[in-house]
């Protein structure tokens, strides 16, 4: 007996390879399923796209693939996440059937071994399916395009996408497995998984929806801001998708290339590992293995019940309020939503419709409490919205949506000035959206007229980038901030107090140093190539600016502000008051040019010097700013808006190119040419020819880094300009039909 025992215990009860092999063998349909689903999102679209553009040159195809892989990443990740949930349910299905739970648990294998085996089986099948589809994708690309220059980067991007997909799958998969350990039925596993993924985003959405419905001055986003968004991986994926209206800020398309920060990746991996070990721990402590118990741990069942009731109450309340527009409908929605959610979740938890009302007394109490809390909060919010908060312990100044940080002031003089300002402000100013647009134009153009001569601290008085927030506590809920934007004249008293305070000296200089550091880093080639994420604050700042102008001019061109802000072309909006007429002129000017670019974001192509400076010149040394957008594609714009002579401008530009670079290098297939030798290059040193080249170009990017990827990249002829340092991203493409004749003749 003793011998037998010791022998058995040496058989690695935590994991049995032969058992694992058996499980793997039997689960092959899963591999097929994963492969098929992935096939439709990875190699197949690539094949279709390549086939569609087969006539194009290889570099164009590569660029197209690059773009496709970048833009579709969030879709891939969402698919992988959905498969993860599906796989997680399958992996724990054996716990939800009486026969299998008895069978597996009586085998001479530890529970850890069972879970590890089933988890590993699902993970490996997905990984194998992913590998199969990756190989297929590579084969498709290689077959059509060969393995020349550019193949490597595309392969890298493909591998990166696949890596993110695997990461997404594993997190959602493990989360579902974890939820499976809490539940004894697949239905409840789906519900609990759904809640763990969606309860927080839904609650946030509802909070914001209510806030926007009822109050105008409370900064509702402040209640849910910050890193809390990472509480839910689903929210993070939405954020990744660029449709993060919850967070209130559209994403910069630049960030598409780096959707996850390194610490986010670590966080996801840590969460996956943590959830896995938590699942193991739960599995070991499950006392009720009788399959069919909806939620194994009683406390979790209660939490599920009341979270569903809360969301149901809020959700239906908001819906009825939106439909009926009245207090009666609001509270009717609350009561009905709470009741329906209660009986639904009660039925699921007891698996018996007859017991759906169990605990109804607590429901009544909770609904009454909720309504009371809501009324109290509404009063509190209304108070903050209408009157000056009675108690303010500090105020905050933020710039560019906090991209440059928030500075808090506790100096009584500052607070007193702020309160005095609040007290005398009229209700007319409380509709900030309206006010912002009206005032913004005046202030902005005033600033624009004075140019960049008056850079310095005074710039921050510009209303367009300054807001003040006060932390107040009102009623049963803590309302963290009240936000208002102010007229410049309104703020002068406060700013005098601010600038006179000691806090200002300490905080402001540090802030400026930080901004300057970012700005310097931004132009550092090493940082740019290796740590581009450092640029996020700057990107966010720029995005805020563009968003602002997109809102103003989006209306004129009939575009939604979000579309403008997230479009490829949002970086180049017209700032001229006569933009609409100018745009018409530009359209007429380019009537013979036929490419998609002009189809909707008409104004995107044109750039006015100054916009970029506005977002960069704040207190920074001028020499650090090295970029210039040249609106050569819009001579009419130049004439009418800026009053510049087009020809003189080109000539000045040519002089600058000769002086700084010694000439222009014009090349073919330049984007994926990693050195000048790889591309067909001619160096243009003749001033006249340079002018001719410049005339033929739609825009000129001197390698600032922000506009490293010009928009016109899908044309038949891939001519471009490279600069002497040979960096591939410092490439300007010619618009179709605008390639100078001598360039065409030389490069063929």
């Amino acid at each position: 007996m003793t011998t037998q025992k010791s022998f058995s215990e040496t058989r690695r009860p935590y994991f049995s390879p032969s058992f694992f092999r058996g499980v793997m063998r039997r689960a092959w349909p899963k591999l097929l399923c994963y492969s098929l689903v992935l096939f439709f999102i990875l190699p197949l679209p690539i094949l279709f796209s390549i086939n569609e553009r087969r006539a194009k040159t290889a570099s164009v195809l590569i660029e197209m693939l690059d773009r496709m892989l970048t833009r579709n990443l969030w879709t891939y990740c969402l698919f992988a996440a959905a498969l993860g949930v599906f796989g997680g349910i399958l992996a724990t299905r054996y716990l939800n059937r009486r026969a299998s739970v008895d069978y597996y648990h009586s085998l001479p294998l530890r529970r850890e071994g069972l879970l590890i085996t089933h988890w590993l089986e699902g993970a490996l099948h997905f990984t194998a399916a992913l590998a199969i589809d990756l190989v297929l994708s590579v084969a498709v690309i290689a077959t059509v395009m060969g393995s020349g220059a550019g193949f490597g980067p595309v392969l890298g991007k493909l591998a990166l996408d696949v890596g993110y997909m695997l990461m997404s799958f594993l997190l959602f998969y493990t989360l579902t497995v974890f939820c499976g350990m809490l539940c004894g039925t697949s239905v409840m596993q789906v519900v609990v998984t759904g809640l763990s993924l969606g309860a927080y985003p839904l609650w946030r959405l509802l909070m914001i929806a209510f806030g926007e419905e009822f109050v105008s001055r409370i900064d509702i986003y402040a209640m849910t801001e910050g890193g809390w968004r990472f509480l839910s991986p689903m929210l993070r994926l939405f954020y990744l998708s660029g449709s993060d209206t919850v967070y209130g800020e559209a994403r910069n398309s630049y960030l598409w290339e780096y959707p996850f920060l390194w610490w986010e990746i670590l966080l996801w991996i840590a969460a996956t590992v943590g959830l896995f070990f938590a699942a193991l721990c739960l599995y070991r402590h499950r006392h009720v293995e009788r399959a069919g118990t909806p939620v194994v741990f009683g406390g979790v069942a209660e939490a599920v019940r009341w979270v569903v009731v809360l969301l149901g109450t809020m959700g239906l309340g908001w819906l009825f309020q939106a439909l009926g527009q009245g207090i009666f409908w609001l509270f009717f929605g609350f009561l009905l939503g709470g009741f329906l959610a209660f009986i639904l979740v009660g039925t699921l938890l007891t698996k018996n419709p007859k017991q759906m009302f169990e605990g109804w007394r607590r429901l009544i109490v909770c609904l009454l409490l909720f309504c009371l809390l809501f009324v109290g909060s509404a009063f509190a919010a209304a108070a903050v919205d209408r009157w000056v908060p009675s108690h303010v312990d500090r105020i905050a100044l933020s710039f560019d949506g906090e991209s440059y940080g928030v500075t808090y002031y506790e100096d009584p003089a500052v607070i007193a000035a702020w309160q005095a300002l609040e007290a005398q402000s009229s209700t007319d100013y409380r509709s900030m959206g309206y006010l912002q647009q009206i005032v913004e134009e005046e202030e902005y153009w005033e600033y624009y007229a004075t140019g960049t001569e008056s850079l310095g601290r005074n710039y921050y008085f510009n209303k367009s980038t300054v807001s003040m927030r006060a932390r107040v506590k009102v009623g049963p809920l803590v309302i963290p901030y009240v936000t208002r934007q102010y007229l410049r004249s309104e703020l002068e008293d406060v700013f005098r107090a601010v600038t006179a305070s000691a806090e200002f000296e300490a905080g402001w200089d540090a802030l400026m140093a930080e901004v300057a550091t970012h700005e310097v880093l931004r132009h550092d080639p090493t940082v740019k190539d290796t740590q581009r994420l450092e640029m996020r604050p700057i990107d966010a700042a720029q995005l805020s600016m563009h968003r602002l102008f997109a809102e103003i001019y989006g209306e004129r061109v009939g575009m939604d502000a979000d579309d403008m802000a997230t479009s490829d072309y949002n970086r180049n909006d017209i700032l001229a008051p006569t933009g609409e007429e100018t745009a018409e002129a530009v359209l007429a000017d380019f009537e013979d040019v036929d490419f998609d670019f002009f189809q909707s974001p008409v104004y995107g192509l044109m750039t006015v010097p100054g916009l970029s400076r506005v977002s960069h010149d704040r207190g920074m040394p001028r020499e650090d700013i090295f970029f210039l957008y040249l609106p050569m594609s819009a001579p009419a714009l130049y004439r009418e808006v800026l009053g510049l002579d087009e020809a003189a401008f080109y000539e000045a530009m040519a002089d600058r190119v000769l002086a700084e670079r010694g000439g222009l290098y014009v090349a073919k297939r330049v984007r994926y040419a990693f050195s000048l030798e790889d591309a067909q290059v001619i160096k243009v040193t003749d001033r006249g020819q340079i002018v001719e080249v410049l005339r033929g170009m739609s825009a000129l990017d001197f390698g600032d880094g922000y506009q490293t990827e010009p928009h016109f990249t899908v044309y038949d002829e891939d001519y471009g300009i490279v600069f002497p340092d040979g960096r591939s991203d410092r490439v300007i493409r010619f618009i179709k039909g605008k390639v100078p004749a001598f360039v065409q003749a030389t490069l063929g």
Binding site: Q4, P108, R110
Partner: protein, 299 residues
């Protein structure tokens, strides 16, 4: 030896087992009987090491079974619902068992396949209910377990197969000292094969004894008197149940046959006889004594 010590288990508000204690000696065939919902299956699950009791413990030769791979290696649990690998064959199952159970005997497996006339390559999903049961039993016996936990194992088997399974179990007990624990409602089956009986009711073991002892200790008495007899007149016998039809009285009483005979003689019946009870009758009597409505029990 299996030792069940104060085992309790609840499912939410439902108490399935409340401090069950029993001992099963090695080499005996233990029959676990009880009313519906008495906790037989729960007790077997706990005994199999697959379920954790809320209180108490189950040990095999002093070793706790919960999460103890070495002990579970000596146990095979045949649940009342067979789980067979989806899409697999008996040979697939055999490979799995061989990889997990130290004492799995491939020769015995082949021998039993031939005995049960089951095709080891045939997909298990095409098996009938009875065939699935046979497959489970033959795989379990191929593992050469020391303890076999059977939950309604004979259900679904035809009479020939029942006989075969009983014979196989008897052989295993005799040759290897196998200890089967058989939970069933079919008391006749239990009576045929088991030598020990445990009656589970209301979450506790009402009694646990050798079957022969049990039969020796409870009897039916049929007696004819020349006068009307009231139940109170039988008080010295402490009858578990009593019925009379005319002059014929029928009693179920505890005690040795000789003691009962002596008391009956003292009552001067015209005629009486003392009969042994079947297990079914014992079960009903015991349950009746505890107020269980036996008319609802299905056999």
């Amino acid at each position: 030896m299996i030792s069940i010590e104060q085992v309790s288990k609840s499912y939410g508000k439902i108490q399935s087992l409340a401090g069950v204690s029993a001992t099963v000696g090695s080499g005996s065939i233990f029959g676990l009987i009880g009313s519906n919902g008495s906790g037989k299956s729960t007790l077997l699950r706990i005994m199999s090491g697959g379920m954790r009791p809320d209180g108490g413990r189950v040990t095999y030769d002093g070793r706790p079974v919960w999460e103890n791979v070495a002990v579970k290696d000596e146990i095979v649990f045949l649940s009342d619902e067979q789980y067979l690998l989806s899409g697999g064959s008996m040979n697939d199952m055999q490979r799995l068992y061989a990889s997990l159970y130290t004492h799995f005997d491939p020769d015995r497996y082949r021998e039993l396949c031939a005995l049960f006339h089951l095709d080891p390559e045939r997909k298990l999903s095409t098996f009938s209910k009875g065939m699935r049961k046979q497959a489970s039993i033959l795989l379990a016996l191929s593992c050469r377990p020391r303890y076999l936990l059977c939950d309604e194992t004979f259900d679904g088997l035809d009479p020939v197969m029942r006989k075969l399974v009983k014979r196989l179990l008897a052989e295993e007990v005799a040759q290897r000292g196998l200890t089967p624990i058989i939970a069933s409602h079919n008391l006749r089956e239990i009576e045929d094969i088991c030598d020990h009986i445990g009656l589970l009711h209301g979450g506790t073991i009402l009694f646990e004894r050798e079957l022969d002892d049990m039969k020796r200790d409870i009897h039916t008495v049929q007696a004819v008197f020349d006068r009307p007899m009231h139940v109170s007149l039988f008080a010295p016998l402490s009858p578990i149940s009593f019925s009379s039809r005319g002059s014929l009285c029928t009693l179920v009483v505890r005690g040795r046959e000789e003691e009962i005979g002596a008391r009956m003689e003292a009552m001067s019946p015209k005629f009486y006889e003392i009969l042994p009870l079947t297990l079914e009758e014992i079960f009903i009597s015991e349950m009746e004594e505890r107020g269980y409505d036996y008319s609802k029990v299905l056999f």
